[in-house]
């Protein structure tokens, strides 16, 4: 069976099931009133795109730095990175956001207009902990014999990192990083709890203004899919593009 046909069948079955479920609800759809709020959705969606991009860059940087710290000879650096990763991965993002904004930012006398900065920062630290483990496993996957070989031909430590270790580690971690980005986009929805006007915040506002719950939240799902599906496709493409057997 051709793959496109298989996808069509699966999607058709899904649509039928969803259609039957919604039909049984006897819904009174009210798309017109929600349509009035399209500008709010649009703005929120772009805010989510912006926040995700900022957190994407920041969390990658945090991940690289913490992964290198974890492999460092200095016990203090190792311990700091390990505690960071375990604390962040072991607690809900919701709690981190609330503490970040209502405790830490408040103690630092942050103004209300700085909530976006704080939001991106907390989200980056959250996602950065997962990035750290991804990068660490990538670095660990490079056999010690590669470093031997790099030293044998006379490369400096910096050259062997740049020419030998990183190019191989990046290929190994790319699919996982792309997967982590998908999570990051969805996790950004929690920023709404500290009143950041992103996509989910917009949908909640529309819902409370119109009492049209599904009409508010179904576009939300579609909007996130519009971001995450291309990322998944990118991840699969990268996986194929950079696949080679270890030799």
């Amino acid at each position: 069976m051709p793959r496109s046909l298989a996808y069509l069948i699966v999607l058709a079955l899904l649509a039928t099931g969803a259609g039957l479920a919604f039909a049984s609800l006897d819904m009174n759809w009210n798309w017109a009133v929600v349509w009035e709020y399209r500008a709010a959705f649009w703005q929120g969606w772009w805010m989510t795109v912006g926040l995700s991009l900022a957190a994407l860059v920041a969390s990658s940087l945090i991940g690289v730095v913490a992964a290198v710290m974890m492999r460092s000879r200095f016990a203090l650096a190792q311990a700091a990175a390990r505690v960071y990763v375990e604390l962040v991965r072991g607690t809900p993002l919701l709690v981190q956001l609330l503490i970040g904004w209502y405790v830490i930012a408040a103690a630092l006398r942050a103004g209300t207009d700085q909530r976006y900065l704080v939001g991106v920062l907390v989200l980056s630290l959250f996602s950065g902990a997962y990035m750290t483990e991804i990068f660490r496993s990538g670095l660990d996957a490079i056999p010690k014999t590669q470093l031997d070989s790099a030293r044998a031909i006379g490369l400096t430590p910096w050259q062997s990192l740049r020419l030998v270790v990183l190019p191989q580690a990046v290929r190994i971690v790319l699919p996982s990083v792309a997967g982590q980005l998908v999570s990051l986009v969805k996790d950004s929805s929690l920023l709404s709890v500290i009143s950041i006007a992103e996509f989910t915040f917009a949908a909640r506002n529309v819902n409370s203004a119109t009492y049209s719950t599904l009409e508010s939240y179904l576009p939300l799902a579609a909007g996130y899919l519009a971001l995450t599906l291309p990322l998944s496709a990118l991840s699969r493409w990268l996986e194929r593009r950079f696949r080679y057997e270890a030799a």
Partner: protein, 249 residues
């Protein structure tokens, strides 16, 4: 080359904090002015450890090594300078898997020896042809056979025009046919005048290329002589047993 090794000691710490293992135990070795030295001996006897020190990859705990009267340095920066003047070939090839065979050859030329990309390509073209590897130059290591990988690895060590090569069991990961390819290549290097130190289990091959053979066991040189003398007249029964096993295997 004339190699003088004096009082060489190497120990490795137990990662779990136990007692350190002594791998080289006051090893002494003085060769004549020769072209090819072959190190043989039982596994775990210390011959690969010795080769890594000779190649400037590890620093011994104590003792000294000198080639042609020039002692090996002990600090990492000076050792890196030394490693740039020699070539090392490992048992497991250690090619860079993310680069093609050609890029593996170009990397040290461009990034360590300062050649331009086109100068480097000019330099590797002829050796690739000579060893029948030109058709495989665009392939990644994963697409090459073991013998091809090892021959590329030898070329990578060779194209920087090293003073000498260090080869650590270059054929022990290969099946007999590929072993033949690689040994033939080393034989050609010997005929071309290349100096090398070779660790091997191929005693028949050692007979053909070695000027001197040293038998390393328990961290010391148990026997050392010119090749013919070593193979025919070694009295040590342990070495005789080793030779009988490996020569007729």
């Amino acid at each position: 080359m004339k190699l003088v090794v004096h009082g060489l000691v190497q120990r490795f710490d137990d990662p779990r904090g136990g007692r350190a293992t002594t791998v080289l135990d006051g090893l002494e070795l003085v060769t004549g002015d020769i072209q090819a030295l072959v190190l043989v001996g039982p596994s775990g006897g210390g011959k690969s450890t010795l080769l890594r020190i000779l190649a400037g990859l590890d620093v011994p705990v104590a003792g000294s090594v000198a080639f042609d009267g020039v002692p090996l340095p002990r600090d990492e920066a000076a050792l890196r300078g030394y490693r740039r003047t020699v070539g090392t070939v490992f048992q497991a090839y250690n090619l860079f898997p993310h680069l093609s065979a050609m890029q593996n050859l170009l990397l040290p030329l461009v990034h360590v020896h300062g050649l331009s990309a086109s100068e480097a390509r000019d330099r590797v073209r002829e050796p690739l042809e000579r060893f029948g590897l030109a058709a495989h130059a665009h392939k990644r290591p994963a697409e090459l056979s073991g013998g091809q990988k090892q021959r590329i690895a030898i070329l990578r060590a060779l194209v920087v025009r090293p003073r000498r090569l260090f080869l650590d069991e270059p054929t022990s990961a290969l099946d007999p046919e590929m072993t033949g390819e690689v040994l033939e290549m080393i034989g050609e290097l010997k005929a071309a005048g290349t100096q090398f130190v070779l660790v091997t289990h191929e005693m028949g091959f050692a007979r053909g290329v070695a000027d001197e053979i040293a038998f390393i066991a328990d961290g010391t040189v148990a026997a050392h002589a010119a090749t013919g003398e070593f193979l025919d007249r070694t009295p040590d029964p342990r070495i005789r047993a080793f030779l009988d096993r490996t020569l007729h295997a």
